[in-house]
C-alpha cells in the first residue's frame, strides 16, 4: 500500500463508519485507531502517536473555551424550565396583539430573546408551538405563515449570542469566543429584522394571513398589562444585558459571563418561586449529558485528526479543495457554503463543527491569509458567523429539519405537515439571502471585533 492512498481511504472510512449510525464520538475514535494501526503496520506512522492520545484528552479538559458550554446551557435550561418562554410569549403576544401580524412579531422577538439566553431550538419551538400556535390558528392566521414563523424563530438560538454553536465554532477555528459573539451580534439582529420584514410584507400583501387579535383575546390591558410587562420582561432583559454587555465590553470572559448568567438565572427562578428541586435536577442532568457528549465527540475527533494529519490528510483535503474549487476567494467561499448547506441535510451542527470544519480549515485559512494579510483570524470570524447563519438552515429544511419535526410533534393534527414544510421555505430563502449578504459584506462581522 502506498502512503498517498492512506488519506483518501481514511476519509472514505470516516464516511462509512459515520453512516452506520453508531455514536459519532466512538466511530471517530475507531476510524482513527484503525488507520493508526494500518499506518503503523506499513511504517507510515510511528507508534509514538499513541502517547499523544492522553495529552489530547487533557487539552480538551483544560480548554477554557469549552467550559462556557455547560454554563450557558445551564443558564438556558434554568430559564426555560422556570417558565420564562411561556410568560414572555403570553405577555409579548398581548403587547403586540392589537397589531396586524402582532403574534408573529411577538414570536420572532421572543425567539431572539430566548436565543440571547442560550435557548435550545427544541425548547423554543415546542414552547411557541404549544402556546402561540393555537392562538394564531384560532384567530385565523395562515397555517403556513404561523408555522414558518415559529420554526424559524426557534432557530435564532443558533446564531444570537451566547449561542453554543458560536462557542464550538470559535474553538474549532482557534479564535476567541468573545470576538465571535461581537461579530455575530449585528448579523443576528439583521436576520431577526429580516424575519420581521417578512411578516410586514405578508401583512401588506395578504392581511388576512396575519390578523390582529380581537378585543376578547387581549386579557391584559392598561395598568395590568404594564405591570405584567414590567414583571415578566424586565428581569430576563436585565440578565441578558448584564451577561452579554460585560462580555461585549470585555469586562468578563465568556466563561465568566456564562457562570454569572447561570447564577443569575437561578436567582431569577428562585424569586419567581419556580426553582423546584425537580427543575434543578433536570437542568443539571441535561447539562451534564450535553457536556459529556460534546466533549466525547471532541475526544474522538482529536484521535481521528491525530492520525489523519499523520498521513498528511490535512494537506490532501487542502489540495483537493484548492484544485477542485475556484481560485477566486469569494467564489471559493461560496462553494464551501453550498457544500455545508447540503451536508447540513444529514449532519447536525455539532457534527459539522467537529468533523467538517477541521477538514476545511487549512484551505479556508489559506484564503483568509490572502484576504487579510494583517491578521487572517479576522477572516475566520467572518467565516464562522457566515457558516453559523448557513447552519441554521439545517433545522429548517424540509423534510428533515428538526425545528419542523419539533413543531409537527406539538402542533394540532389539523395543521397539515405540508403547510409546515411550505411555511419554512420563505425562511430558508431568507437564510440563504443573509448568508450571501455576509459573503459580500464581511464588515458586518469584522467591524465589531476588538
Amino acid at each position: 500500500m502506498s502512503f498517498e492512498v492512506m488519506a483518501p481511504l481514511m476519509f472514505v472510512g470516516l464516511i462509512v463508519f459515520l453512516l452506520l449510525g453508531y455514536p459519532v464520538a466512538f466511530s471517530l475514535g475507531a476510524v482513527g485507531l484503525l488507520f493508526g494501526w494500518i499506518g503503523m503496520h506499513y511504517d507510515f506512522i510511528q507508534p509514538v502517536f499513541l502517547q499523544n492520545i492522553p495529552l489530547r484528552i487533557f487539552d480538551t479538559l483544560k480548554n477554557q473555551t469549552l467550559l462556557a458550554i455547560p454554563f450557558f446551557t445551564f443558564m438556558g435550561l434554568i430559564l426555560e424550565r422556570s417558565g420564562m418562554a411561556e410568560d414572555l410569549l403570553d405577555t409579548v403576544g398581548q403587547l403586540f396583539g392589537r397589531l396586524r401580524g402582532g403574534i408573529a412579531y411577538a414570536v420572532i422577538l421572543v425567539g431572539a430573546l430566548l436565543g440571547a439566553t442560550t435557548g435550545v431550538v427544541a425548547a423554543s419551538v415546542i414552547a411557541m408551538g404549544l402556546i402561540s400556535l393555537p392562538v394564531m390558528l384560532r384567530y385565523g392566521y395562515s397555517p403556513r405563515v404561523a408555522s414558518g414563523v415559529i420554526a424559524a424563530s426557534g432557530t435564532l438560538a443558533q446564531i444570537v449570542p451566547p449561542s453554543l454553536v458560536l462557542i464550538v465554532m470559535a474553538d474549532q477555528l482557534g479564535v476567541s469566543v468573545g470576538d465571535m459573539y461581537r461579530g455575530a451580534l449585528v448579523p443576528s439582529l439583521i436576520l431577526t429584522g429580516l424575519y420581521l420584514v417578512y411578516v410586514v410584507v405578508v401583512s401588506l400583501i395578504n392581511p388576512k394571513a396575519v390578523p390582529s387579535l380581537p378585543e376578547e383575546a387581549r386579557t391584559y390591558r392598561g395598568a395590568r398589562l404594564v405591570k405584567r410587562v414590567l414583571t415578566v420582561m424586565i428581569p430576563p432583559l436585565v440578565l441578558i444585558f448584564l451577561v452579554l454587555g460585560t462580555i461585549f465590553i470585555g469586562v468578563a470572559t465568556p466563561t465568566e459571563g456564562g457562570a454569572m448568567g447561570a447564577a443569575g438565572a437561578l436567582v431569577l427562578a428562585a424569586l419567581r418561586r419556580r426553582l423546584s428541586l425537580k427543575v434543578l435536577l433536570q437542568a443539571m442532568e441535561s447539562t451534564a449529558r450535553l457536556t459529556s457528549f460534546v466533549a466525547f465527540i471532541l475526544v474522538g475527533s482529536r484521535i481521528f485528526s491525530l492520525v489523519f494529519v499523520g498521513v498528511d490528510g490535512d494537506r490532501w483535503v487542502e489540495n483537493l479543495l484548492k484544485t477542485a474549487l475556484p481560485d477566486n476567494p469569494i467564489a471559493f467561499l461560496l462553494v464551501i457554503n453550498v457544500l455545508v448547506f447540503l451536508i447540513a441535510f444529514f449532519l447536525d451542527y455539532f457534527e459539522i463543527a467537529f468533523i467538517i470544519i477541521p477538514l476545511i480549515l487549512p484551505a479556508v485559512t489559506g484564503i483568509m491569509e490572502g484576504l487579510y494579510p494583517q491578521d487572517y483570524k479576522i477572516g475566520l470570524y467572518w467565516f464562522g458567523v457566515m457558516l453559523g447563519v448557513n447552519l441554521q438552515t439545517s433545522f429548517m429544511h424540509p423534510p428533515f429539519g428538526f425545528a419542523l419535526f419539533f413543531l409537527r410533534s406539538v402542533a394540532p393534527p389539523s395543521l397539515k405537515t405540508s403547510d409546515i414544510y411550505w411555511g419554512a421555505v420563505p425562511f430558508v430563502i431568507i437564510q440563504v439571502i443573509m448568508t450571501l449578504v455576509l459573503l459580500f459584506n464581511p464588515w458586518l462581522v469584522t467591524n465589531w471585533l476588538k
Binding site: L19, L20, G21, Y22, P23, V24, A25, F26, G29, A30, L33, L50, I53, P54, L55, I57, F58, L61, N63, Q64, L67, P70, F71, F74, S82, G83, A85, E86, D87, A123, I126, A127, L130, I131, E256, G258, A259, A262, A263, L266, L280, Q282, M284, A288, R289, T291, S292, F293, V294, F296, I297, G300, I303, F346, L347, D348, E351, F405, F406, V410
Partner: protein, 198 residues
C-alpha cells in the same frame, strides 16, 4: 443469561448513582466560577487554585458522565440510515459498534493513559502555575472514567444480546429528538401561564 443480566443491572445502577453525584458538579462549578469572577472584579485578585478548580470540575462532569450518557443513548449519531433500520438491525449495529468501535477505542485510551498517569502520580505532579492545584488526581480520573465506560459498554452488549435472543423485550426506539419533545412538552404545559389562571 440471567446471571449476565444481573451483572448488567449492577453496572447500570453504578452508572446511575455516579451520575447522580456528578450532576451536582454542574451547580458547584457554576457557583465557583461566578464567585471567582465576582472576586476578581471586587478585589482585583484571583487565585489559580480556584480557577483550576473550574476546569477540573468540567473534566469530572464529562468524564464521569460519559457512562450514564451511554446508558441513556445520549451520544449523538448520524441517524440518516440508523433511524430507518428495522429494530433488530439497530440492535446489531449497537452490538457490533460497541464491541468493535467503543470498547477498542476506550481500551486504547485507557492503556495509553496508564504510563502517563503513573508518571504524574509518582512525581506528585502539581500545576505549573503559582498556587495551582495538584494535577495527578484529575489525570487519574481519565483511566477511571474509561473503566466505567468500558463497564457500561459491557452492560450494553449484554442487554443487546438478551434482546436479540429474546431474553429481554426490545424497547421501542425513541430518537433523541422524540425524547426531547416529550420532556419539554411536559414542562411547557406545566408552566403555561394560561393554565395558572384557570
Amino acid at each position: 443469561m440471567r446471571f449476565l443480566l444481573g451483572i448488567s443491572r449492577a453496572i447500570d445502577a453504578l452508572s446511575l448513582n455516579i451520575n447522580k453525584a456528578v450532576i451536582w458538579l454542574v451547580l458547584l462549578s457554576t457557583l465557583v466560577s461566578a464567585g471567582n469572577a465576582l472576586v476578581r472584579y471586587a478585589l482585583h485578585s484571583s487565585s489559580n487554585a480556584w480557577l483550576e478548580l473550574q476546569w477540573i470540575m468540567f473534566g469530572a462532569i464529562f468524564l464521569l458522565g460519559a457512562s450514564y450518557t451511554l446508558m441513556k443513548n445520549g451520544h449523538v449519531r448520524v441517524d440518516v440510515l440508523y433511524s430507518k433500520y428495522p429494530p433488530r438491525v439497530k440492535l446489531w449495529v449497537d452490538l457490533l459498534g460497541t464491541l468493535f468501535f467503543l470498547i477498542p477505542t476506550a481500551v486504547v485510551i485507557f492503556l495509553t493513559s496508564l504510563p502517563w498517569v503513573a508518571n504524574s502520580i509518582s512525581t506528585r505532579e502539581m500545576s505549573p502555575d503559582a498556587g495551582g492545584l495538584p494535577y495527578w488526581p484529575i489525570k487519574l480520573l481519565i483511566p477511571v472514567a474509561l473503566v466505567l465506560l468500558i463497564l457500561q459498554a459491557i452492560s450494553e452488549v449484554i442487554k443487546r444480546l438478551a434482546m436479540l435472543t429474546g431474553h429481554l423485550d426490545i424497547p421501542e426506539y425513541v430518537t433523541e429528538e422524540e425524547a426531547e419533545v416529550q420532556e419539554v412538552k411536559a414542562i411547557v404545559v406545566q408552566n403555561d401561564p394560561k393554565e395558572d389562571k384557570q
